[in-house]
Symmetry: C2
């Protein structure tokens, strides 16, 4: 799978600069590219406890996206899935740590532990106060005492960050971080592995399967499970989290592992919110990509029981747009449907001549069904004739219910009838034509002018113009000629319809996708229908 990157080597430095350019001046980086990839909070005065996190890249927006007031002070970035060097971590510590000291927030991977650990040692040799916490929130591997650090790390960033921003001292921040680490639990599920730049993709997970408990570096899951639905997936994940969930109100963090879509993530959020597997999940962070694993098509759920103090720290606002906030889960708010969806039924009235006229038109379309279908088969799915005939049959059946004596209402009623009985684009366009014509008559226009106004609205909504090989090519000249009588109108309609056989480049409607050869020599079925209608009106 190709990726939108340049080289594997330049990937992380380019990504960092890309992030900095849109950071509104809130971020800066150290001048150590390519080896030292450290991003720091701009304008930081070192007056409070600094929070330094980081690790391998490929987890964006972690960690650069969480630098700022109320969360991290610096992020030390390694290459993709590779720990940053000791020098890089040390540079990060030295760049942001003042007399209040600094807390290193490290995810539990050997490389990160060692490199952050040695950097801490070297910083301490300068007399700098450094504490380190190791996040091990992943419950996927119950037998390994060294649980991995995954998306639960975000809770540590947020709570420790909010405390540090309040001016708490290093020990207080450290204790709060340890308290979060003790309580937080996470597990992930994925439908596919991730694509590591420069490495062939491992197609490990078969279709219909999902991995439960996989790591954020593409490590295999602890279990290959059958995948059926989002509901079952969330159920499995919550089942595993349940024994670790703790008591009291909880915050869930719903993390997109990179390749799940926004649509899938809200469906998963809905399942999480609806589930009663774990009681008292009252707040949600996300859904959002926070701790990703490149393009892994999966999600993780992290759970933290919170007291009032921790909740306040979790919900304290921060300016970073990658932090989705921690919001209370509510039932969906529902409003009644407004009145007016059921159109007012017109009051039937009698006018035998008009009824006969309508029936005559309907009969013409019913009689033309096969011929128009045959024409449509040249440019579409061959159903124009049937569509028109079906609508005509319905209209004919309803003719006694029409307000035949009131021409304004009659046009509107025909429009309404067509919108309910005639499928496809043509049904909507004809409904618009008749409705708009009725409106125009009610505003005082003559019938011919009103029909033209209706046609104008059809063009505005449908986007077709004369010459686009549509019914408009017959209807426009017919309406122009109508003041001279039906004969003139029929002649004009026929000329317009026949001209469509020479229009080989359709610019609107479905025929615009058809090759020129197939169109040449065949009238547009809509235009032909209009011509037949006017010719029929003359012939009687």
């Amino acid at each position: 799978m190709a990726q939108f990157i340049n080289t594997k080597e330049a990937l992380v430095t380019e990504a960092i600069d890309g992030a900095l350019r849109t950071a509104k001046g809130r971020l800066a980086r150290l001048d150590g590219f390519p080896h030292i990839k450290v991003v720091v909070r701009a304008g930081w005065d070192k007056s409070k406890v600094a929070l330094v996190s980081g690790g391998g890249s490929g987890h964006e927006p972690a960690h650069v996206g969480f630098i700022g007031k109320g969360m991290l002070t610096a992020a030390v970035c390694g290459d993709v899935f590779a720990s940053p060097s000791v020098d890089a971590v040390l540079a990060g510590i030295l760049a942001v740590t003042g007399p209040a000291g600094c807390l290193l927030i490290v995810k539990n991977y050997t490389g990160d532990r060692l490199n952050f650990g040695l950097a801490a040692e070297r910083a301490r040799a300068y007399g700098i106060k450094v504490s380190m916490v190791i996040v091990d929130d992943d419950i996927a591997l119950p037998d390994l005492p060294q649980a991995r650090g995954v998306a639960g790390t975000l809770f540590v960033h947020k709570i420790a960050g909010a405390l540090a921003e309040e001016g708490a001292n290093l020990d207080t921040v450290y204790q709060a971080a340890q308290q979060v680490i003790k309580q937080v639990a996470s597990i992930g599920m994925s439908l596919d592995t991730c694509t590591v730049p420069g490495s062939p993709k491992e197609d490990r997970i078969a279709v219909g399967k999902a991995e439960l408990g996989l790591g954020i570096h593409g490590e295999s899951g602890v279990e290959l499970v059958n995948f059926t639905t989002a509901q079952e997936a969330m159920k499995l994940v919550l089942e595993r989290l349940k024994p670790h969930a703790g008591d009291g109100p909880k915050v869930a963090l719903l993390n997109n592992l990179g390749g799940a879509t926004p649509l899938e993530m809200v469906v998963l959020a809905e399942e999480l919110a609806k589930s009663d597997m774990i009681s008292d999940i009252r707040y949600l962070v996300g859904p959002a990509p926070m701790m990703t694993s490149l393009d892994m098509r999966g999600f993780s759920v992290s759970l933290l029981p919170v007291d009032d103090r921790e909740l306040a720290l979790m919900t304290a606002p921060v300016p970073m747009r990658d932090w989705p906030g921690c919001v209370e889960l509510n039932a969906p708010a529902i409003q009644p449907i407004p009145d007016g969806l059921t159109p007012i039924k017109p009051i039937p009235s009698q006018e035998p001549a008009t009824a006969a006229f309508v029936v005559q038109c309907c009969d013409l379309f019913i009689a033309s069904e096969t011929a128009l279908n045959a024409l449509d088969a040249q440019s579409g799915d061959g159903d124009t004739g049937s569509t028109l005939a079906g609508a005509a049959r319905a209209l004919k059946d309803a003719v006694d219910l029409l307000p035949l004596a009131d021409v304004t209402q009659l046009y509107r009623a025909i429009g309404l009838e067509l919108s309910q009985t005639m499928g496809g684009s043509s049904g909507v366009l004809l409904a618009i034509f008749f409705s708009a014509t009725g409106d125009a008559i009610s505003s005082g226009l003559s019938q011919v002018q009103a029909l033209k106004a209706g046609l104008a609205r059809v063009q505005e909504v449908g986007g077709a113009h004369p010459g686009d090989r549509t019914m408009i090519d017959a209807l426009t000249p017919a309406l122009d000629a109508l003041p001279d009588g039906f004969v003139a109108a029929a002649k004009a309609a026929r000329a317009g319809a026949d001209h469509t056989a020479d229009i080989v480049r359709a610019k609107a409607g479905r025929a615009s996708y058809i090759s020129e050869e197939r169109l040449k020599g065949h009238n547009d079925p809509g235009a032909e229908a209009v011509a037949r209608l006017f010719e029929n009106l003359v012939s009687v």
Copy 2:
């Protein structure tokens, strides 16, 4: 490709409820599920012009994510890639429109035009003021006068939304929207097609290729191009946009089509910001998923030239987290690397006995290279011996440069030397061991106590404990016995090392991934190295 959904039928309604649950009460929906899927701004008093948009789903966060103060008032959602019904649109209009009227913002697809168009007609029959604009920002199909509406629609939402929020009347909002539509241009590129729920995936784009100009419903691109790098991809996209770019300062909107990763998107942002293909791109919206196409692995760029007024409307803050904001593009801010990365070199001093001791230890490791490699081959990649021997050779070569007469500085210097010459986890852990021991001596501990303090730090950082089948299993008993002399220490180290052969379930280090059968009966190479060291010290 499986997806985290339940059924195709319930997908959109579940997604809407999922979005509502985390909307902090800012959204509500109409009570018309499943046919009428309309989300409205909660608490809307109809005192200003309402903005109604929508269309097929599968473009999340569009359109529900952009409902709120300063953007949309309602979103009418169809099923995936299917236009909502006329009734649904009408319900949306009726639910939010007051005397100030309403603007329908429609993307240029036939179904949306028709259904929004007919709904407008029906609303007008109630005397409601409705205007409609049709967004056609896609420049991919230059021959079709009916350009599609894609991510540039977001500019219309934002600018019209900010104006409406200010209290502008319908005509002003309509004119501003039309002005944006006239000027905005978009094009997309993708490395893969999208997966429509319930349909087989079309594998249309070969590896190494990209489609330029594809639509947001998976329609084929106008051109299959070779894909090499993010830079070339952005160059192609900007080349196509250039003739449409207009004059003066511009805002670019960088949209994730759904399946590109956050990492790729910032790389693309960097390329967009660095490019001089189009002058005066001063502001950026994104990168973010805004108008997606399910899981399409692609991006789109939309460009809008803006005057001061439009820029103010673009940058007006809104509370929706899916709107990434419109920020000024800045060069990355760079800070100098802090002092202190280069450790202070110790001042060499002479002490022949200490030098001989160090050399003796080094020689032992050099002599044990093959044997330790063989042991390591049982549980790792067989290089423990070579790693130790390599470090020992380097340390032996540097022995005359060590501060041999100052034991505190000597430990620190050995730690530093090992951190620079010895690779792998063991190099870092030994560096931490010696550095922390040196620190402990300087704080007044005896040498044995200091060595234990160093070991404690190694355990904290490395996470290993006695019984985990590491060098700690030999070093811990050896240091405990050391006050009784080297013989006792050597005996204890040997017993500890030999015990590791019975530990078949390694809990730390690489051996933790190895099967029990392979470990049984073989000493851990690190523990063996420690035992050999102490035995060697006795034997001389």
